[in-house]
């Protein structure tokens, strides 16, 4: 049964690739959504069976994939708690997004192609999380990269979209390459790429902090930051918003971008053995969440706000991973998948309603014209901003904030940054909400309400965004640990440094306070004192800073100057292949020799005689010189 979970999406993708031009829209919708829906149902059944069985994991061997010498990688699927969490999110959220897409993409000419790619993506993503060995994981890993590329560039007519798509693929490929090298090293030392066997062997093979394992962990981290758009490979994600909004929701918010989190969590043993790498994970996460938060603050495009927010939230997850709070990271992944998918789809609904207008400054006042969308969007925003107690985002983020400080690998600095991030999150989230839904409408096109196929998934996700938090509650608030217990066999519990309820309260209250402060400032900024804020923003330094943040801390420029330009420029310069010049020169020299020699064939008899004579003199003098000297 297990194999059916990825096989169905793959099969439907194949069907759609072969026949999307001939199928009717209904057929496409049925195949596209139906396959994912069935997958989701199978996941439920399989998950139930798995939980009943009491095993740590279920493995299904399909066939031997690559076997060469001592290297062996099978088409093997493994289901355990961690992958189950991911599979669940992928299939369910995926299904909702598919349903949503039938409405969102209804008018698109390439309806079938869209679903073909989406299904392929779901299949690949499932492969990624179900893989029993790293090679298969890599297959899924690259497969989702491909689909991400295809879907970002879905509207291929605009070269900018194509550029964004390629950028996404190439930047993640940089990370993938690092990961591939990690795979080589793992195989070299452990003789296998099977995840469970690596994790079993690793502690016996390396002492904590051994250079090799640190290097491996760093390389894996390289793969993770590429896929999850973390520093320093975060630049592709904001551009990836060029794709249709369901794509952003599914791939660039809920699932694919969290693959990095999955990878690090999956190989947690290695990171445990490599403190330096784990610290790096935390630092990357912390830095990213701050950076992206700042950038989100100044964006105009509603999807870019969400994109930076995604980067920032994944930063939280990385921070959690970095401090050893494995299950907290996964928990945040789950809640984030719900509320971010919700937000993206809500934003998508707005965008569709406004005839593909994405600039928030051309929105406003939509609270009245799109009340349904407003409500769910508000729920999502609240969850993102971690509004205390009633949102899932609060519980998952609060856990990270607290553990960043209190866990054995935590640090006050992390905590401060996490709090600052919470503040920023609240601020940019509500800036977005206020800009979009409050004030007066600044656009031209008349908004029209989205259909039910788009709204129903939103309602479901809104519900999930709220209740999903209650599966895991902090000590201070009821102490429910359903989720972390569920993950226990795979992910070790977090090592606490200090367990003080008082401190935890402090942290929680502080975070809650900062959230409210952020919302208030956003209120002041957008609604109450827009002119004052504008004056503030137009101070020279602020203007520069705004521009700097707007461009995502100018990483694009940096990479352009440092890597892209030199590559392109040398490529252009060398278009005619410098090496070829060597050979053409050689040919030219030969031709020159011909010309020089041809001149000796003058046709003059005396000249020929001269030639004979010169030869004679040379030969004779050599012969005689040889005798006398």
């Amino acid at each position: 049964m297990l194999y059916l979970i990825p096989a169905l999406p793959f099969f439907s993708a194949l069907l759609l690739i072969l026949g999307w031009r001939t199928f009717s829209r209904t057929t496409v919708s049925v195949i596209g959504c139906g396959s994912i829906g069935i997958s989701a149902l199978i996941t439920l059944a399989q998950g139930w069976q798995f939980l009943q069985s009491g095993h740590d994991s279920m493995v299904q061997h399909l066939w031997t994939w690559v076997q060469s010498g001592s290297f062996n990688a099978g088409m093997d699927l493994r289901l355990d708690a961690l992958s189950l969490a991911f599979v669940f999110v992928i299939t369910f959220v995926g299904f909702l997004i598919h349903v949503y897409s039938t409405g969102y993409m209804a008018d698109d000419a390439d309806y079938g192609r869209f679903f073909a790619c989406m299904n392929l993506f779901v299949g690949a993503m499932l492969m990624l999380v179900l893989a029993d060995n790293l090679l298969l994981l890599y297959l899924g890993w690259e497969g989702v990269g491909l689909c991400s590329y295809l879907l970002i560039g879905f509207w291929y007519k605009d070269p900018a979209n194509g550029y964004a798509a390629r950028k996404a693929f190439i930047v993640t490929r940089v990370g993938d390459t690092a990961m591939a090298i990690a795979l080589f090293m793992l195989f070299q030392y452990t003789g296998s790429l099977q995840i469970s066997s690596i994790l079993e062997k690793a502690p016996g093979m390396w002492t904590t902090g051994h250079a090799t394992v640190v290097l491996i962990a760093f390389l894996l981290l390289g793969g993770a930051v590429g896929k999850s758009a973390q520093l320093p490979l975060q630049t592709w994600l904001p551009d990836a918003m060029a794709g249709p909004t369901p794509v952003s929701a599914l791939i660039h918010a809920a699932t694919m971008v969290t693959a990095g989190v999955y990878l690090v969590a999956r190989t947690n043993v290695l990171f445990d053995l490599a403190p330096a790498a784990q610290t790096a994970v935390a630092v990357v996460g912390a830095a990213t969440l701050l950076l992206a938060g700042c950038s989100a603050l100044v964006q105009k495009d509603i999807k870019r706000v969400l994109a930076y927010s995604t980067i920032s939230q994944i930063g939280y997850m990385f921070l959690a991973l970095g401090v050893g709070a494995w299950s907290a990271a996964i928990f945040h992944f789950v809640t984030h998948a719900f509320f971010k998918a919700l937000l993206f789809m809500g934003a998508g609904a707005v965008i569709v309603a406004l005839h593909h207008e994405q600039d928030m400054f051309k929105m406003g006042g939509l609270r009245k014209s799109l009340p349904g969308v407003f409500r769910v969007f508000l729920i999502g925003s609240a969850s993102l901003a971690a509004l205390p107690f009633i949102t899932s985002g609060f519980y998952s983020k609060d856990q990270i904030v607290w553990l960043a400080w209190s866990s054995a690998k935590g640090h006050t600095a992390y905590w401060v940054i996490a709090l600052a991030g919470a503040f920023l999150t609240a601020m940019y989230t509500f800036r977005m909400v206020f800009l979009t839904f409050y004030g007066s409408y600044r656009g031209h096109a008349a908004p029209h309400t989205p259909g039910s196929s788009m709204m129903i998934p939103l309602y479901i996700l809104a519900f999930l965004s709220t209740v999903a938090g209650f599966v895991e509650l902090p000590h201070t608030l009821g102490h429910v640990t359903l989720f972390s217990d569920f993950l226990q066999p795979i992910l070790p519990a977090v090592q606490m440094l200090q367990e003080s309820t008082a401190l935890e309260w402090t942290s929680q209250l502080l975070a809650a306070g900062l959230t409210f402060l952020g919302i208030y400032i956003a209120w002041v900024w957008v609604i109450q004192q827009p002119d004052g804020m504008r004056r503030f923003a137009e101070m020279p330094f602020m203007q520069w800073l705004r521009g700097f943040w707007y461009k995502g801390w100018a990483f694009d420029e940096l990479y352009n100057e440092l890597l892209v330009r030199p590559f392109v420029r040398t490529a252009r310069l060398n278009r005619r292949d410098l090496v070829d010049k060597v050979y053409t020169t050689l040919a030219r020299v030969t031709e020159w020799c011909h010309d020089a020699l041809a001149r000796t064939q003058s046709g003059l008899l005396r000249w020929y005689i001269m030639g004979v004579l010169i030869g004679a003199v040379l030969i004779l003098s050599v012969l005689i010189w040889r005798i006398y000297i």
Partner: protein
Amino acid sequence: MTFNDLLSLGPLLNIAGASVLAMLLVAIWRNHRLVYYFTVLAYLLALMSVVPVARLLPHEIPPLVVIDLFALFNSGAIVGSGLIIVLLSYNYFEEREERKEEYYLLLLLATAGALVLVISRHFMSLFLGLEMLSISLYGLIAYLRARERSDEAGIKYLILAALSSAFLLFGMALVYGFTGHMDFPGIGAYLRETETLPVSVIAGFGLMLIGIGFKLGVVPFHMWAPDIYEGAPLPVTAFVATISKGGVLVLLIRFYQDVNGKEYTMLWWIMAIIAVISMFAGNWLALTQQNIKRLLAYSSIAHLGYLLVGFLSGAQSGLEAIAFYLVAYFVTSIGAFGVLIVMSSSVQDAETVEDYRGLFWRYPWVALVFTVMLLSLAGIPLTAGFIGKFYIVMAGVDGERWFLLIMLVINSVIGLYYYIRIIAMMFRTSETPLRTYIKPALPLAGNITLGLLVVVLIGLGVYPTRMMQLIQEMMTLIK
């Protein structure tokens, strides 16, 4: 003179006698066809007379000549080549000259000269053969009197050949003067006995080398070749390229063996340098040459360089390689000139590369023959030229002459360029009609001859075993 002596000289006597008879025939009844058939007959008889000689080998007629398998083999090759050249000549001359009968007479004489060369082991027979060859060639080269270039080529060749003969003669005189011998074994014996050679003998050898080098057309004595190739009638060019050069080379080999030339490193070095320069000069000169006759002249300079590499390898297989290469080269060259002959019209020889533009699309058969010939010259597999070059390289590796081999390799690559250039021209698609002087109908005899050559060429390229066996046997005998 015993009967065996006569029998063993069979090919030579046949050809020489035929030349006398031909002269009488022409005097009595001037008829092109008749003389042609007579000549063909004479060559055929000569070729057949090679067979019985095989029983007598090796046969010596002291002091002038020796008929061993080596000599016989080369005699056969010369007569055979001569026969093919004659076969190709008929149509060529039929369309051109008023008095074409003497051509056959001269050709027979020249062939006789070459036959004398290959069996000689004495200065006197050497000289006789060489001059018979040369003087007939003067006439042959200038045979098409009406053509301006023929005369020019004839006079150039005459003066230069006479000059080279003078060098050769003076060299021989010096050698004779200080050794007292004119026969090769005698000279060899003298050299073996003498510790340090007198300067004059060395100078004599040097002068002889110049004379021989001229006939072979190696650098720096090569300059005549392109002009003579260009000016001479095509069959004569084929003759000069093959029989004339081959005969002299055979003589050189014999002389070198008899005087044990291997021992003189200086001589070796000089020849090595000549070989290298010849390869380079020949190939470089041919590189963008537009006249195919001149191009083949330059290419033959380079090929002589290759042959010298085999010669200089010092390995026994080197001589075998030369023998094989010579056969391959004979077949190939005659084939190439044969194509030129077939394609030429009465007005002008089809000699520029441009004349062959798009030939493949008009006369695929001729184009393919020419392609095969050129590929053989370039040494590409499936052709005799490949096996020949392989043989040479093998000998070179055997003798560990790495420098020469590298030079050979470089030159093969350069050489490839201009052979391909012609091939490319033939396969170029062109809508413009071929030049008008290329005749529309091709002579049957020429086609058959070309077909025969292709068969031989590819046969030798695919299954050279028999030929190699023969050559190996022959070489073990002259050692």
